[in-house]
Structure formats: C-alpha cells, structure tokens
C-alpha cells in the first residue's frame, strides 16, 4: 500500500492490470442483470467479481480518494451489490402465499378494527337513513342533482344502464372506481386514522341517505333489487379496506415497533396484502355489477342467491376456511 502511494508508476501498473478485470466484471454483472436464466457458475463468478471489486475499491479509496476511478469502482460495486441482493422473482408463489396464509392471519389480527369499521359504517348508514326519511329536503347534501331529479320523477338512475353502456365497459368502470374507493379508504388512515373515520362515516351516510330517499319515493325495493347481487361483498370489502386504514392510523398513534416509521411501514406491508385481496373481490363485484345488476331479466331471488352465495365464498376466502391447510402464523 505504501509503495503504491509513493510510486505512481506502480499505481498505474496496478490500474492497468485491474482495468481489464473491472470491465469483465461489469459486463458479467450487466449480463446477469438482464436475463433470468443463469447457471450457478455465472452467479459464483459474479460473487467473486463482487469481492474483487470490494478489494479494489477499498484500495482505490485510500490511494485515489475522490477520483473518477474510485467513483467508477463505487458505482460498479453498488451495481454488483444491488444485483446480488435482488429479491427472487416468484410472483405467483408470493401471490398464493399471501392469499392462502397471510390474508387469513391478517383477518385475525384486524378483527377489532374490522368490527369497529363495520359498526361505524352501519351506524352512519342508519343515521343517514333516519336523517333523510325525517328531512327529505336534505337529500341534496348527499346525492347528486341528476340522481335526485331521476328519483323524484319515479326513475332510478340505474335503469337502462345496459342500453347506454355495454356490460364489459361498465364492469371496467365500476371495478376501477371501487378500487380507487378501497384504496382511499385505506390510505386516508395516514392521517392518524381520522381520514378513514371521516371517509367511512361519509360513505355510510350516503348509502343510508340513498336508500331512505328512494324508499321515500317508492323506489326502495328497486334499488335493493339492483344492489342485491353485488352490494353485500362490495360494502364488506370497503369496510375491510377501512379496517386497513384504521390499522395504519393506529400504527402512527400507538407504534408497536421502535419508531413510528418502522411501525407504519409494517402496517402498510400488512395492509397492502389485504388491499390486494380486496382488489380481487372487487373485480368479481365489478363483473356482477356490470353483467347481473343492471340486467332486468334476473329476478330478485336469483340476485339474492348470487349476492349472498358470493358473500359466503368471499368470507371463507378472507378467513382462510376455503383452504384445506390451516393458515400459517401471522406475517
């Protein structure tokens, strides 16, 4: 080392000898980063290259601090580090594990939050229904003007939906809208849970007001008929997403780990798995709402059967009862 510092010719000889090797290592790492089918030898060579870079970088930092060569070696070393610490690609396996093991465990963890959110939502819906059945003129607070005009003229805004928009397009729009609603229900929990609280109260009030207002104009049964097939799972899923929001807020108010940030991140990772499950449930709901709910050929009994059968299936899925093996421990 001392010889290198004193003798620039020696340093140059060292650089000249190593430059070709760095190029080889960089090329090897680049190749390894691009494809996914590599042999054990390829990986072993990359690990050896990583060690060689570490050695040379250590020397370059002492002999040539702040030089371009050191910066180059640092960048190559970083790339090798990133490549070797890259998580394995097992998307399908991870998805199955989340749905089979993690989701039921999270449901157990979030029991309290789910119960609280459902209670809040039902109470808000009842309050909204009472408010509008007592003061129908307040409907404009919760409902858009064209919906009020439709209902007052004896029509539901859901009628003739299929003659305007085909089922496939309707499903996509509904699904997208529901996903955004579920995401907002969850991420508003960042505001110490208050965002989710207000979001669930507002939505509960709206649902209650909607049913009370249509019932006031003799259209309650028709609205019930429209929502019977998709409503149970859709509303339940929004409540589950709300429970995730509450857990995010709770992680900030009462951090379970050493810092708020760590606690929040752990809650987000757990919540994201649950939101993934909610997305799948809402995709099916979107399909039902696009193909079944607006179609007048489906009688009420068939809608009820579809709606509650799907709810039962969804709940066995959420609680893990649909899987043969017992769910693993909480993630």
């Amino acid at each position: 080392m001392t010889a290198l510092q004193q003798d620039d010719a020696g340093l140059r000889a060292w650089l000249g000898a190593r430059a070709a090797l760095w190029q080889q290592i960089a090329e090897r790492i680049g190749r390894l980063g691009r494809g996914r089918r590599h042999t054990v030898d390829d990986v072993n060579q990359a690990v050896q290259g990583y060690r060689a870079l570490a050695h040379d970088l250590s020397m370059a930092r002492r002999v040539l601090p702040d030089s371009r060569i050191t910066r180059y070696l640092e960048a190559s070393y970083r790339q090798a580090h990133i490549l070797l610490t890259r998580p394995a690609h097992r998307l399908l396996g991870d998805l199955v594990q989340i749905l089979r093991d993690d989701v039921p465990a999270i449901t157990r963890d979030l029991r309290g939050q789910i119960l609280a959110v459902v209670t809040l939502f039902v109470a808000s819906a009842l309050a909204g229904a009472w408010l509008i059945s007592t003061y129908p003129e307040l409907a404009s607070i919760f409902l858009p003007e064209d919906a009020i005009n439709n209902v007052e003229s004896g029509k539901l805004w859901t009628e003739h939906m299929l003659s305007v928009v085909p089922s496939a397009w309707l499903s996509i729009r509904i699904f997208t809208n529901n996903i955004v609603v579920a995401c907002f229900a969850a991420i508003f929990g960042v505001i110490f849970g208050l965002g989710t609280f207000y979001f669930m109260v507002t939505n509960g009030l709206m649902v209650g007001a909607l049913f009370a207002f249509t019932a006031h104009h003799g259209l309650g049964l028709r609205l019930f008929e429209f929502t019977a097939a998709h409503g149970p799972v859709e509303l339940t899923t929004i409540c589950l997403a709300g429970a995730v929001g509450v857990s995010l807020g709770e992680s900030l108010v009462r951090p379970a780990l050493e810092t708020r940030r760590a606690s929040f991140q752990a809650a987000v990772v757990r919540g994201a798995k649950y939101i993934l499950m909610c997305t799948l449930l809402l995709a099916v709901c979107g399909f039902i709402e696009g193909y079944v709910s607006p179609d007048p050929t489906f009688p009420l009994w068939s809608r009820l059967v579809i709606g509650w059968a799907w709810w039962l299936i969804a709940m066995t899925f959420v609680t893990g009862r649909c899987w043969r093996a017992r769910p693993a421990a909480a993630p």
Binding site: Q23, A54, S58, R68, A75, I82, V269
Partner: protein, 253 residues
C-alpha cells in the same frame, strides 16, 4: 446479504456489506426527484395523447368507429388512460426501480437497506401516489419532501423506499485514465484533472478555463518558461493540455 443501514448525518444512505466495504448512496433531493418526474410526466402525457390521436384516426378511418361507440372507449380512450396512469408502476417494476425519466436524471428507487425494491414496495409506492398528488400538483408529496430529512414523499415512507443518485462514470473514461498522461509523467490524479478540464473546456467561462489551464501548464510542463505560457492563445493552450494527456509510446511502456 446486507444488514440494517447506518444513517449518516448527511442525507446519504450507507449500507454495510458482508465484504466489509460500505456502499454509500447519495439521496436524491427535491431537484433530482422533480426533474425525473417532469421528464416522466411528459413522456406519459405524450404517449397517452399519441395513442389517443393515432388510434382515433385509425378507428375512424379503417373501422368507421364513432366517438359515441363503446369500441371507441375500449380501443381509444381506455389504452390512453392505461398508458398515462400505469406508466410509473409498470415501468418501475420492469426496469427495477427506474423509469426513463429517472434514468435521465440519474436516480433510482432502492429500499432503505439499499437493496432493489420488489413488486410489492413499488406497487405500494404507486398506490400512495393517490395521496401524494392531493389536492393538486403533488402538494402533499412536496410538503412531505420538505418535511422529511431524506426528502421522501408519503409513498416512499409507506413502502420503505428512497430515491438515490446512481450514476456511473463512463467506463471508457476510466480506461483512458490508466494510460493517459504517462508520456508527460503525470500522476493519475493530475491526469484526471487535465482530462476533466479538457472535457469541460467548451462549458467553462473563458477567463476561468484559461486561468486553470495556465496554472496546470506551469505546474506540469516544468520545461516551459512562464512567459511563453502567458502569451498562448486559447486554441494553443488547449492543444498543449491535450499534448500532456498523450500516452507514452509503446516502446517506453
């Protein structure tokens, strides 16, 4: 492979490695972040609009589709929205935490331990974009960047990610440094200085570059009298600097 990161007092991420040699990742500030975002925003906007107009033209010309038809929504409007809204999540996953804008800005997304992000954190980061973009033009995200030491938006806090600078000096320039300057007997550090000065010559202020060049020639061309260096024109000075960088003849090596 790596243990918990050690947070340095400056906004850098230092990661311990099993080799014992730490890696330092400089954290991208609001400038680098905004620069990358603006490039990406233009790409996705232009991409979405390009699809919209081209598909509209084809749909109307070749398939006689009208704007009120559902086929128009499915083949023209929907893909344009998909390009615009799924640009970030899809490209970040495919490009391992980068997008074209991030690549141009020289930044990339990494986890807090320096490892590359998986699909989950990248999706979480993008779902929280809904919150960061509120109420308009990313006000929440900007406030979060100002308020946090590592200048991260809420999505990064949630996903445990950071935006770091990740630029690699050109390999050719490093290889060049090994041989350059040997004819003049320059050290590696001196060679790098001259090489940088020559490379940045057109961008530097003429007075500043001439001052730097004269000082370099005085120091490194020991045989040249100071008076002759002071009388050199800009072109001659640059030529003399380039002459200093010449590698030693093959026989001498």
């Amino acid at each position: 492979m790596s243990s918990d990161p050690i947070e340095a007092p400056d906004p850098d991420l230092r990661i311990e490695s099993v080799t014992g040699v730490d890696v330092t990742l400089p954290i991208a500030g609001l400038g680098g972040r905004s620069y990358a975002f603006i490039i990406d925003w233009h790409i996705r906007l232009i991409g979405g609009l390009a699809w919209f107009f081209v598909a509209q033209w084809i749909a109307k010309r070749s398939f006689n589709v009208r704007t009120q038809d559902t086929a128009f929504d499915l083949w023209v409007v929907l893909p344009a929205f998909v390009i615009y809204f799924l640009y970030h999540p899809v490209l970040e996953i495919v490009m391992g935490g980068r997008t074209p804008g991030k690549r141009m800005a020289g930044v990339r997304i990494v986890m807090r331990d320096g490892s590359p992000p998986g699909v989950g954190p990248l999706l979480i980061r993008n779902v929280f974009r809904l919150l960061d973009s509120l109420p308009f033009v990313y006000v929440v995200g900007l406030i979060s960047c100002f308020a946090t030491r590592q200048q991260v938006r809420v999505g990064d806090l949630a996903a445990g990610t950071l935006l770091v600078y990740d630029e690699t000096p050109a390999r050719e320039s490093v290889t060049r440094l090994v041989t350059q300057g040997t004819a003049a007997g320059l050290t590696a550090a001196q060679t790098e200085f001259i090489d940088d000065l020559v490379a940045r010559w057109p961008a530097l202020d003429p007075v500043v570059r001439m001052n730097l060049a004269r000082q370099a020639l005085l120091q490194f061309e020991s045989a040249a009298p100071p008076v002759s260096i002071a009388t050199l024109s800009e072109a001659q000075t640059l030529e003399r600097l380039k002459a200093l960088l010449r590698p030693a003849p093959a026989s001498a090596q």
